[in-house]
Symmetry: C2
Subunit: 469 residues, 2 copies
Amino acid sequence: MGHSRINLSCMRPTEKYIRDNLENFKDEICEFLRIPSISTSPEHLQEMRKASDWLKSKMEDSGLEAEIYETPGNPVVLGKSLKAGDSAPTVLVYGHYDVQPPEPLDLWISPPFEPEIRDGRLYARGASDDKGQLYLHLKAAEAFLKGADNLPVNLIVLAEGEEEVGSPNLLPFIEKHSEQLACDIVVISDTGMLAPGIPSVLCSLRGLAYFDVEVKGPSSDLHSGIYGGPVVNPALALAHILAGLQDSKGKVTIEGFYDDLLDWGPQVKKQINDLPFNQQELEEFIDADLCGGETEFSILERLWTRPTCEINGLNSGYTGDGAKTVLPSRAQAKVSFRLVPDQTPQRIDELFRKHVDKVTPRGVEVTIKQLHGGMPWRAQLSDQLTNAVNSALKKIFNKRAVVAGDGGSIPIVRDLENLLDSPVLLLGFSYPGCNLHAPNEWFPVESIENGIRTIAHLYQEISLMDEIC
Amino acid sequence: MGHSRINLSCMRPTEKYIRDNLENFKDEICEFLRIPSISTSPEHLQEMRKASDWLKSKMEDSGLEAEIYETPGNPVVLGKSLKAGDSAPTVLVYGHYDVQPPEPLDLWISPPFEPEIRDGRLYARGASDDKGQLYLHLKAAEAFLKGADNLPVNLIVLAEGEEEVGSPNLLPFIEKHSEQLACDIVVISDTGMLAPGIPSVLCSLRGLAYFDVEVKGPSSDLHSGIYGGPVVNPALALAHILAGLQDSKGKVTIEGFYDDLLDWGPQVKKQINDLPFNQQELEEFIDADLCGGETEFSILERLWTRPTCEINGLNSGYTGDGAKTVLPSRAQAKVSFRLVPDQTPQRIDELFRKHVDKVTPRGVEVTIKQLHGGMPWRAQLSDQLTNAVNSALKKIFNKRAVVAGDGGSIPIVRDLENLLDSPVLLLGFSYPGCNLHAPNEWFPVESIENGIRTIAHLYQEISLMDEIC
């Protein structure tokens, strides 16, 4: 407790700076969110440039040395403060300044690039993902550098502009600049909290193996009356293949699918099931009954710790209005599996193909392409680092942090961990239902202050990991 | 044989007229085919009018009294010759002057409405279906009326302009004019021969029950990572429902599905299996192995005498390029059943709904709509009528006619039979592979002469059914 008090006293000027400048920070976030930095469409190249320039200039305002690095795609912006010296730990913050396209536009209550605050929510594309959250780190650093004239850790802020298009140029960039990106810990604020007021550290992500499955029959569509009967219907063959992937108890029936699963242990299971999770609330929010999958596991276990099989798309024959009596020449499905440790997209690829080979009926041909793969991830935080994070969170939220999982996949996390040989900490401040990748994306206004303060305290706590302030 | 000789001698002027005018007939068919009488698109209303006017004027040229009847849609054209008198039988010919849209246009070798003869085939939209074949009846009548100054039967030619859009106004028209449409037999030439040179009478059609099946889950698409596991995937639920409709032996698994099937008897079975059918030829033509369905039945039995279940279309979630990790909110299929006597679309509707109800998993809702229904049909030809048809065919093709079936559905056949209380004779002259409803539709040039002559002899033979010429 003595330790904690010393720490608090050191933070006074930093905390004051945040308090004094909070309104200004909110205005600045809005400035950032007004730039339509949509990386998926080539007509926004200039806006991407505008966003990276804005970011560089704000990094400099915050007291970081900043530089723009060209890549074959959108530039990487790198901000640094290495004043803490060799004996202090180095934190690398990863974030992205590009956003998802805002379509469909007519579903937005206020325009996606005209930020608006309603009911404590800041609405804009990129508010949560990730411009709003990346910005929090700049301001935490600024609060130290301008408010206290010191930053207790060495800081590297790595911001890319291609996360929403699969980060094609990031890994080569990291490999090329690995020496100047060397760090002790990677922090990413691109996720959310379990619920408002519940400080959360995200400790697992599922992996992904995503396939295109095409069943080919006759070389062109046939009349379903004239030829129906002895011709194998590719859409019906596809239905048989897909239905055979999962049994009525929610188990994936591919041989070997569960072979590589790690046991999460009774402690994690208990931790997960002790979380304040309201099933009915989630059911109302997504307007669906949570009665699917492996019902012997709790909802959160199913979401975070169990692999799944999903059909993401189906397409065959005639799908317009009315009746067209076509026997389709082909049928297509997008099929994906969420993976958990130690499943790998490569192994699932093998097992999936083998399974489909076995069940494909005569008379049709099946082609399978893996379109996307990502490794599952579990955090590898030392006790010391865990304590540092918990301590920072407790100061702001006055509550013990919970360990949360996420059913989604962020392949870059595992890549950063491997390439930088550092643990990754996922510490985000958005709330459930913040409409990521959807119309009316928002970020909680209270998370601006809570986020900046938590991050500042985290930097401080990390700096204390090896020595006392 | 004596009977046959008298008959032939009577036909001499008629036959001569056909011979002398054949080139002129070919030119006239092309004139008819040049009118783009596409009933499916409203922008061709004027062309529909042009086609009906053309038809009326040609009926008059042939010696029929012709009239155009307005309907809420495209007009009905009625041509008549009742000179044969009350003691002669009355033949009603049904045909249609509207055609399917020609798209995709780029697949046509010669433009769809610029008729062209290549390798003994007359290529044009409507050549087989049905303008080319309807025209044959006008010329057969003309050959009698102009070549011999008599027509041995009373003839009514009923031509509609909405067959390709489901004949919405035909049945009301027939009901309204039932007295003047009273007849002893209905003849339709809108089908084909089993193979070139093989005179065929089409004696069965399958019925149809066509459904739209929609599986609804969450009210909007969800992220398949964040929510995947406890949410029932509507596309996977649909796959289970569809796969459960047919077992691996090609049997429809809906309870009661086969209950109403009539036994066609060993004689029909033998007749069908004695037909000159070349499986390899058909497989090459449609580029598909004929290994599906109920393999304990022959290919032709499966095509003509057995009911089927087909998926005509599938649609769900994301189907574009690449990977989108969406858990779709809905999944849709077009599902249809071909029916055989005495199945009915009404009964199949009940059984299908009951079956789907039983297998639908919790967590999704299924909506089923029947979009289209048609009764199966088997010809009810008296021995006398059968003899008349066979005799006419034998004279032209010098071969015994075969009894063929067709796996498709022509609901109007059963409707005409019922409304006009007369047997329907399906006697068509196109060949397999003539690209009905597809690019490069064609009609065999030799079928122009063979068709007109066969029809003329048929009229003659029918007139002989009750008295000798």
